[in-house]
C-alpha cells in the first residue's frame, strides 16, 4: 500500500470520528434530562398517540358522567361491570324466576333472610329475633324459602343457612328498592 493511500485512509478515519462525535453531541442536546431511554417518535406516530389519548380521555369522561349519580344525599359512584351478553329468551325459565320472586315477595321472608345474612340460625333464635311472627308462620315461611333454594337447613343440627342464590337475591331486592327510593327522592 502506498504512503499516499495510507494518509488518505487516516484522514477519512479522522473525518468519520469527528462526524460521530458531532452526531453524539446533537443527540445529547435533544435528549431530555434524567434517566431512561430516549426514543425519537416520528411525528405521524405522535399525532396518532395524541388522538388515541384524546379518545381515551373522552371515554373516561363519558363513563364518569354515566357512573356518578348526584342525588339529594350526595354523590354516589355506581360501578359498571363488563357488558353482559343478553341471555337468550328460551333459556330463561320464567316459572323458576317467578318462584324465586314469589319467595322474596313477603315482608316476613325478607326479614328472615336479613337475619340469616349474619350467619346460620336455629328456629328458636329466629323466633326470638322476629317475635312478631308466630312459630307456625315462621316454619311455613322457612319452607317457602327452602323450596325456592334461598335457604338450606342442616339436618343434624337443624340450623338454617342462607345459600349463595339466597344472599344474591336478597341483595338484589335491596339494591332495586334503594335505587327506586333514590329516584323518588329526586
Amino acid at each position: 500500500m502506498s504512503d499516499e493511500l495510507k494518509d488518505e485512509m487516516k484522514k477519512l478515519k479522522e473525518q468519520i470520528t469527528a462526524m460521530k462525535d458531532q452526531l453524539k453531541q446533537m443527540v445529547d442536546e435533544q435528549r431530555p434530562k434524567g434517566r431512561g431511554i430516549y426514543i425519537d417518535i416520528p411525528s405521524p406516530v405522535r399525532d396518532y398517540v395524541e388522538d388515541a389519548m384524546q379518545g381515551v380521555a373522552e371515554g373516561v369522561h363519558g363513563e364518569l358522567e354515566r357512573s356518578i349519580f348526584i342525588g339529594p344525599r350526595g354523590c354516589r359512584i355506581m360501578r359498571h361491570g363488563p357488558p353482559e351478553m343478553e341471555e337468550p329468551e328460551e333459556k330463561v325459565s320464567f316459572d323458576k324466576v317467578a318462584a324465586v320472586m314469589s319467595a322474596l315477595g313477603h315482608e316476613h321472608r325478607l326479614k328472615i333472610l336479613s337475619e340469616l345474612m349474619s350467619g346460620g340460625k336455629y328456629v328458636n333464635e329466629l323466633q326470638e329475633k322476629l317475635s312478631e311472627i308466630t312459630t307456625s308462620t315462621l316454619s311455613s315461611h322457612l319452607n317457602v324459602l327452602e323450596e325456592a333454594g334461598l335457604v338450606v337447613q342442616e339436618k343434624v343440627r337443624g340450623r338454617y343457612l342462607v345459600t349463595i342464590p339466597g344472599r344474591t337475591a336478597y341483595k338484589m331486592a335491596r339494591r332495586v328498592t334503594r335505587f327506586l327510593e333514590m329516584r323518588d327522592q329526586e
Partner: protein, 201 residues
C-alpha cells in the same frame, strides 16, 4: 402398614333398642331396634360390626362461606348391609342373639345367608385378612363406615374426633372443625374462617 386379620363372628345378633352409632355436629348414623348385626373380630377382639336393618345416615355436606352456603344435606335410608369399624358392643350397644323371626323380617331364612352377605361387604371393603389397620377402637374414637350405594360400590365415612371424611360417588366432603371442603358434581368449595374459595360448574 399393619395388616389386621379381620373375620366375622359366627353368631347373628340383633339390636334390642335403637342405636346411635355416630352423632356429631355434621353427621348421624343410627339403626332401629331389631337390626341384624354380626361382629367383626381381629385377634379374637371385637373391632366392629356389619349391620342390616332399618337405619339412616344423615350428613350435612354443606360449606358455609361469606357468599352463602354451598351444598345440601344427605339423608339416606340404610337398608343394605353396611360395615362399621371402631364401634363395639362395649361402646354401649345393646345386642341379643337374633331369633328366627328377626332373620325372617330381614328376608333371610337361614343365618348363613346373612353371614354370606355380611362377609361380602367385609371382603369388598378390603378383603378378610387384608384390611389395613385403621386404628379403630372404641377407646380411640375413630370410626370407619362402608355403605353400599345404588351402583353397588362402597361409600366411605371416616370419623376421627372433630375430623370427618365422606367419599361417595361424585362427592367428597372433608370437615375439620370449622374448615370444610366439598367437591360435588356442581361445586368445589373450600372454606376456613375468613377465607373461602368456591367454584360452580
Amino acid at each position: 402398614m399393619i395388616l389386621q386379620h379381620y373375620e366375622l363372628d359366627d353368631t347373628v345378633m340383633r339390636t334390642t333398642e335403637s342405636e346411635v352409632l355416630l352423632k356429631n355436629e355434621k353427621s348421624l348414623v343410627e339403626v332401629d331396634k331389631g337390626t341384624l348385626a354380626v361382629a367383626v373380630k381381629s385377634e379374637g377382639q371385637p373391632r366392629g360390626f356389619v349391620f342390616q336393618g332399618k337405619g339412616k345416615l344423615v350428613l350435612d355436606t354443606i360449606v358455609e362461606t361469606d357468599e352463602g352456603a354451598i351444598g345440601e344435606p344427605i339423608e339416606r335410608d340404610l337398608d343394605k348391609p353396611f360395615l362399621v369399624l371402631g364401634y363395639t358392643a362395649k361402646s354401649g350397644g345393646s345386642l341379643a342373639v337374633a331369633a328366627k323371626e328377626d332373620l325372617e323380617k330381614a328376608g333371610y331364612t337361614d343365618p348363613k345367608l346373612f353371614l354370606e352377605k355380611a362377609g361380602s361387604v367385609l371382603d369388598r371393603f378390603g378383603g378378610r385378612g387384608k384390611i389395613n389397620d385403621c386404628g379403630c377402637s372404641s377407646e380411640g374414637g375413630n370410626l370407619v363406615f362402608a355403605f353400599q350405594n345404588e351402583m353397588g360400590r362402597l361409600d366411605l365415612l371416616v370419623v376421627s374426633r372433630s375430623r370427618l371424611v365422606y367419599k361417595a360417588s361424585g362427592v367428597v366432603f372433608v370437615a375439620d372443625g370449622d374448615k370444610t371442603i366439598l367437591k360435588s358434581p356442581r361445586h368445589i368449595a373450600l372454606s376456613k374462617p375468613n377465607r373461602h374459595i368456591t367454584y360452580c360448574m
